[in-house]
Symmetry: C2
Subunit: 306 residues, 2 copies
Amino acid sequence: MRIIALAGGVGGAKLAHGLAQILSPQELTVIVNTGDDFEHYGLYICPDLDTVCYTLAGLANPETGWGRVNETWNAIKSAAALGGIDWFNLGDKDLGTHLERTRRLKAGDSLSQITSDFCKAWGVQHAVLPMSDQPVRTIVATDEGELAFQEYFVHRRCAPKVTGFRFEGADEAKPAARAQEALQSADAIVICPSNPWVSIDPIRNVISIPAGKPVVAVSPIIGGEAIKGPAAKMYRELGIEPSALAIANHYHGTITHFVIDRLDAPLLESINALNMQTLATNTFMANHMDRKRTASEVLHFIGASV
Amino acid sequence: MRIIALAGGVGGAKLAHGLAQILSPQELTVIVNTGDDFEHYGLYICPDLDTVCYTLAGLANPETGWGRVNETWNAIKSAAALGGIDWFNLGDKDLGTHLERTRRLKAGDSLSQITSDFCKAWGVQHAVLPMSDQPVRTIVATDEGELAFQEYFVHRRCAPKVTGFRFEGADEAKPAARAQEALQSADAIVICPSNPWVSIDPIRNVISIPAGKPVVAVSPIIGGEAIKGPAAKMYRELGIEPSALAIANHYHGTITHFVIDRLDAPLLESINALNMQTLATNTFMANHMDRKRTASEVLHFIGASV
């Protein structure tokens, strides 16, 4: 049984971690959004890729879900004392990742190869792949004009009202070589509970999900609110009521299976009408056991023999 | 009384600190070697400039003389764990300086302006100037070929045998604007006890020391050995017996006054024969009081009314 998981940052990383506790390295490949990558202080930063890798490696900060555990913040504090930009959190250990990645990219290595080598060094056994080795940049259209993703997300704390999204470079970007192979040979695809607009859509704009295989999504919205991040706010600003049903509509035509939280069971009938099988269960992942349990239910739901 | 001090790293920073304890910000300007600047992990690093600024700011590591006090090393350890280069010590706080300097250089600011702003932020009241805003690179010719300075100095720990030096870019580099003004209006010039070959000669290759003013050098060699660094080894490898006399010969024609350690008093007669006034005193600076006392003796020796 070969499973591909598509993931953004925090929520995606949690389910990917649950899947990695059940599936062997041969059985699971995680393809990660790179649309929120950006350059900061001349360094090439991949927030979602690092969150997934740190989480699988057990190096993630359990408080935040992103960044490193037992982190110090001396470099960014020292730069800020000199008038430097401090709106993006850069821990010292995390900075080491960005320094070495930037050095290797400049030396001509691909992001896939670098990520693979970093995973080896961190003891991550499952394959984690960037969606592409070419730059794709999520641009958020807002009532204050277009904003680069991190500008919108971190600097402006998602305050501007969203009117749309585009993925700069997506037309020219090729799927990372191993990502396309993995998708072809996959038995099923899991869309993790990440933000559909800015975590999963960038991936879907670069990689085409093959037809004829089970594709299961886990709703990132529970009871009308996103567990983390601006997904619900985005739906509202785009004139759509945020709900598990809105997510089902978002992925309609792509997914065959959909997992919602028990809280959203009243929506089961409307979602089933969209021609997908639906499972209502406890999808909130507060701890490591929740991650494994949710992953296990998702796999059983699509009939994965694990 | 306006004094210009020419300085490299550790030894130069000590005397500059002593001078700064006596002279007002109007009376002292420190011009610093930038020949050992280099790019590492894409960051623009100025080891001597930072050592002088950190020392004057009271932020220097008292154990090493370079780098920051109360430093952490998480970024470089994290990069090294990923296969990164770790032969150059990059503390986290220090890294913040390099990140912000690199960011501002890329934004088009000059090294002089950046250094001036950093000094303000660090509470350094005396002017500290890079010798030039254009890159000058000290290249060490050795029996193993030419080596970039930090490659020779830090990576190879000065092991290769030196056959000469050149200062790439020195012909095209202009003195930093305020450095040239300061030299013109100076009443006297102090050459700090820095390495003549690789700390002071780069400065002299970019900035011409005006004639007709007292120019005093403090010997970085005591009893035939350098207090720190490879100066004595360099003299030996170039076929010159390392001594205060060798330093006097090095600066012959440039300096009017020379300060040597009491230990080297037997050389007084030979040095006086070089047509310079010589003072033998205690020049070893083990603590802050030593720095101030040495600076005071140097100033009185050249007749500075302070």
